[in-house]
């Protein structure tokens, strides 16, 4: 297989697997946040921020994918 193909697969895996992990984390955080907001609607703002916390791992995956596609591929 050519290097470009391997790079594309690597980039896809990097963002895909990281996004799956983030998704599971966000699901757990959001479910808890929704429960808390149901009891006190003033917590909505904080809940949204907590729900966004696990997204960082997807961002790391995204950075790796970008680096693979735009840095390594062009090197």
């Amino acid at each position: 297989m050519e290097a470009a193909g391997l790079i594309a697969i690597g980039a896809g895996l990097a963002i895909g697997v990281a996004a799956c992990g983030s998704g599971i984390g966000q699901g757990i955080a959001s479910a808890a946040g929704a429960g808390a907001t149901a009891e006190d609607e003033k917590l909505l703002g904080k809940m949204l921020v907590f729900a966004a916390l696990p997204e960082t791992q997807a961002i790391y995956g995204f950075v790796i994918a970008i680096l693979l596609m735009f840095v390594y591929a062009l090197a």
Binding site: V49, A52, L53, E55, T56, I59, Y60, V63, I66, F70
Partner: protein
């Protein structure tokens, strides 16, 4: 940048001057009162607060039920009034309103209860009619007849013994049995599905028609009773709000003496006051012949001190938790970086214009009393301007709906450069946090905190730079960093190196969200272009897809960009220096702007 400087104040006076001083303090509206640790005896003020509390309960009940039907609130101004007059005013008002309101609400509740019952019966019939062919009367039991309705397959029909069978046709079958047991036994044997029937007087379809008619009639009745409440709301809601406002202020005023320490002749009031207001308090002391002492206290509550622009962002600091007294207020920095990050992530001229319109509408429609809503709308307005500016930089108008030449770069062809800009912004942001931590530590003269908290992360960055320019210097700086981090919290401290790197990389979301906004918008445009080629319906589908797709993208990315801008502050920026946990400064005042409705 810092919180408002406050004095701790102690006022000592004689009991006979207390009511006048209380009124003046309330009108001055600059003092935060504190609760002493001692209990107090019951006095006249307690009786007055009980009367006020009881009237408040009545008024709150009225407002709660009228506000659903009220069109508008009103500006609330407090006019001095005695407690007895305020309670009398409230009683007179309640005598006018309570009875007709209670009666209308009772009727509405009754109509709702009957509607719910009918809806439930209707739903049951709906379920049954799916199983029963139309046009047949449902069988019912009588003294001599046992009735059961069951579904059986066509094949099973022919297995019915002759002894049970009386008639059969295409749609239904009447089975006669000598006893209930024979029929039940047979139905169990063939595994038939027995349908439970509700007690209906008519055929199901007729019954449904009747229920619909009754529901219509109930809806009309409800509208009639609601119209009565609407009339009451139009007539009395504003008056109720004004009475509530007066009662709340008086209740607070007469509740306040509980916070006073006292002897048989004197009382002591304690609290905090902004330092620039101390002269007003001194004048007040002269007027009421009371003694005032004041001094500095580190346990003071927090009062943020910002200009009107920055003030609109204070709700974000409140949401996280106020800084402790005398610590750094992060609001001015948030008021600059939040619009910057938001614009970077949303970066689209079209969406920016839409957001600006939305912000203007929100500003116009939000009530004057609802400060958070107005501040949120103002923040969105500022963010919309940065969105338009970054949209011009990156050449994006609803994605690529109209082709615009980027003023600086195209993020889809220069993603690496956008990533570098995003990370550079992150580095500036984090270093600002580290500088603020240094300022705080120097202000507190805490050298240990200075050396072990912000300094290692600055030397870490210098080490990275050193490795590029002069590797031996870089290695030396890295060793210094590791030693400082080890001293901070042993091996766990050394892990902070990767932690800081992770925090920095988190700013890559600036690129990620920027690309997501443009990418989804371009996707919507491509789908719309494809649909345009459909015969006849093409233009309709094109417009529909554009409207739906861009509305979705707009909503998702306004939410995403807001949350991530705030999150970059709460998690990444605040973790460098911020100490929350301050008690909010609540002035004892008659000038309360509150959310009504």
């Amino acid at each position: 940048m810092a919180t408002e400087d406050l004095y701790h104040v102690r006022i000592t006076g004689l009991h006979e001057n207390k009511p006048k001083l209380l009124d003046s303090l309330h009108s001055l509206g600059v003092m935060h009162l504190t609760q002493p640790d001692i209990s107090i005896e019951e006095d006249l003020s307690l009786k007055q607060t009980e009367g006020l509390a009881s009237s408040l309960l009545d008024i709150n009940w009225t407002i709660e039920h009228l506000k659903k039907y009220a069109k508008s609130g009103c500006d609330l101004v407090f006019n001095e009034i005695s407690v007895n007059n305020a309670i009398n005013q409230s009683d007179v008002f309640m005598n006018k309103v309570k009875e007709p309101l209670q009666s209308a609400l009772k009727k509405i509740e009754e109509v709702d209860r009957n509607s719910r019952k009918l809806h439930s019966v209707y739903a049951k019939i709906e379920g049954i009619t799916l199983n029963i062919p139309k046009g047949i009367a449902l069988p019912y039991e009588s003294d001599n007849v046992y009735a059961v309705y069951a579904r059986v397959s066509k094949k099973q029909v022919f297995t019915i013994p002759e002894t049970l069978s009386a008639s059969r046709d295409k749609e239904h079958l009447m089975v006669l049995g000598d006893s209930k047991k024979d029929v039940e036994k047979f139905l169990t044997e063939i595994d038939a599905r027995i349908v439970t029937l509700p007690a209906l007087e008519h055929r199901p379809e007729n019954e449904q028609r009747l229920i619909t008619a009754r529901l219509d009639s109930l809806a009309k009745q409800k509208s009639k009773y609601e119209a009565r409440v609407k009339i009451l709301a139009a007539r009395y809601f504003k008056e109720a709000l004004c009475i509530q406002h007066t009662l709340e202020i008086l209740h607070e005023r007469y509740e306040t003496p509980r916070k006073f320490r006292k002897t048989s002749h004197t009382y002591v009031v304690e609290g905090y006051i902004p330092r620039n207001k101390i002269s007003s308090l001194k004048e007040l002391a002269k007027l009421h012949k009371v003694h005032v002492e004041y001094g500095i206290d580190e346990k003071a509550p927090t009062k943020l001190k910002n200009n009107s622009y920055v003030g609109h962002f204070e709700f974000l600091t409140h949401m996280f938790g106020l800084p402790k007294y005398g610590k750094i207020d992060p609001t001015p920095f948030m008021s600059f970086f939040i619009p910057l990050f938001f614009g970077f992530m949303f970066s689209d001229i079209g969406y920016g214009i839409l957001l600006l319109l939305l912000a203007v509408v929100l500003m116009k429609t939000s009530r004057r009393q609802n400060k958070v809503q107005r501040d949120g709308a103002f923040m969105l307005g500022v963010c919309s301007i940065t969105t338009i500016i970054f949209g011009v930089f990156f050449g994006s108008f609803f994605g690529n709906l109209i082709k615009i030449t980027p003023l600086i770069l195209d993020p889809f062809t220069d993603a690496k450069l956008v990533l570098i800009i995003g990370l550079a912004l992150g580095l500036i942001h984090l270093n600002l946090g580290l500088v603020l931590a240094m300022v705080q530590a120097i202000k507190e003269k805490d050298m240990k905190k200075l050396l072990l908290q912000p300094i290692p992360f600055i030397t870490l960055q210098l080490a990275a730079l050193g490795f590029l320019l002069n590797p031996p210097l870089g290695a030396a700086l890295l060793i210094v960093t590791l030693i400082l981090l080890f001293l901070k919290s042993k091996f766990q401290g050394i892990m902070d190196v990767t932690g800081f790197l992770g925090t920095w990389l988190s700013y890559a979301r600036l690129l990620a969200l920027g690309l997501a906004t443009g990418g989804i918008a371009m996707g919507v445009n491509i789908i719309a272009q494809q649909l345009l080629q459909v015969n006849v319906l093409g233009p309709v589908l094109f417009i529909f897809t554009l409207l739906l797709g861009h509305t979705f993208n707009f909503a998702m990315n306004v939410l995403g960009s807001s949350i991530h801008s705030v999150r970059l502050h709460y998690i990444e920026f605040f973790s460098q220096f911020y100490e929350a946990g301050g008690e909010p400064f609540n002035a004892f005042t008659t000038n309360k702007l509150k959310e009504k409705l």
